[in-house]
Symmetry: C2
Subunit: 155 residues, 2 copies
Amino acid sequence: MASDAFQDHYPDELSHCYGCGKLNQHGLQLKSTWDGDTTVAVYEPRPYHIAIPGYVYGGLIASLIDCHGTGTASAAAYRAAGREMGSSPPFRFVTASLHVDYLRPTPLGVPLELRARAVEIKGRKVVVEETLSAGGQICARGQVVAVRMPENLAI
Amino acid sequence: MASDAFQDHYPDELSHCYGCGKLNQHGLQLKSTWDGDTTVAVYEPRPYHIAIPGYVYGGLIASLIDCHGTGTASAAAYRAAGREMGSSPPFRFVTASLHVDYLRPTPLGVPLELRARAVEIKGRKVVVEETLSAGGQICARGQVVAVRMPENLAI
């Protein structure tokens, strides 16, 4: 596959996610890639992703942090195992907990950059720390605790 | 105003929020009300609010907890001040931090019930604790730290 995006390596049956599934036509279709030891994703909110005039809705920010976090967990788990992204069985993660600190209002109308790092990989659990920036200024920090999907959910 | 929903009392210029603004035609239009000392909101996800087949997207759950949390903060602040909801100046809150623990997969196709309580009201800050249930079973717990909107943002 030509794409470097983690989400483009998810099998089709795990590609319906509203935040990052390539098959969800109503969704955000977030794409995450490696940049050295960090992962990066860029998303430009739609005009209706508004909180108050001029600023981005916090629930969208949480959604972006969630999907970039589980994508980063997956990519980090493949890398730690010395495996190619997308090889079977799939390393697909769900979110056990999500924390977001909103440091300042996030301006609407510019691309948002997510950067993340897997700070702990232990058994089925990966802890990911993230920042979300607009115009080079960090507007939110997030932490995702991701857990490898139970086999009975990974259809 | 006939509606009991907190969000229907927000002034128009603060009613564009993607999660709960009555004027956002693309948004979720969440409605929260009092039930004794607890607040409640019900939302039925759309079929495309999917994580993996059969289950609700975690970012939507975070969004619902966020908006029900700031709505609860607003209503609790009015009640603590002995003021009618919607009276001026508006008590409108933004999210300082959001935490969600996903306890079990949330089934898609049924209404989700949010219940919340303001556990701390101190100065401009209100801490709200919440549950999100499907079919009477708690699927997620959340905490929102809400801060009364600075005057220069409350247009």
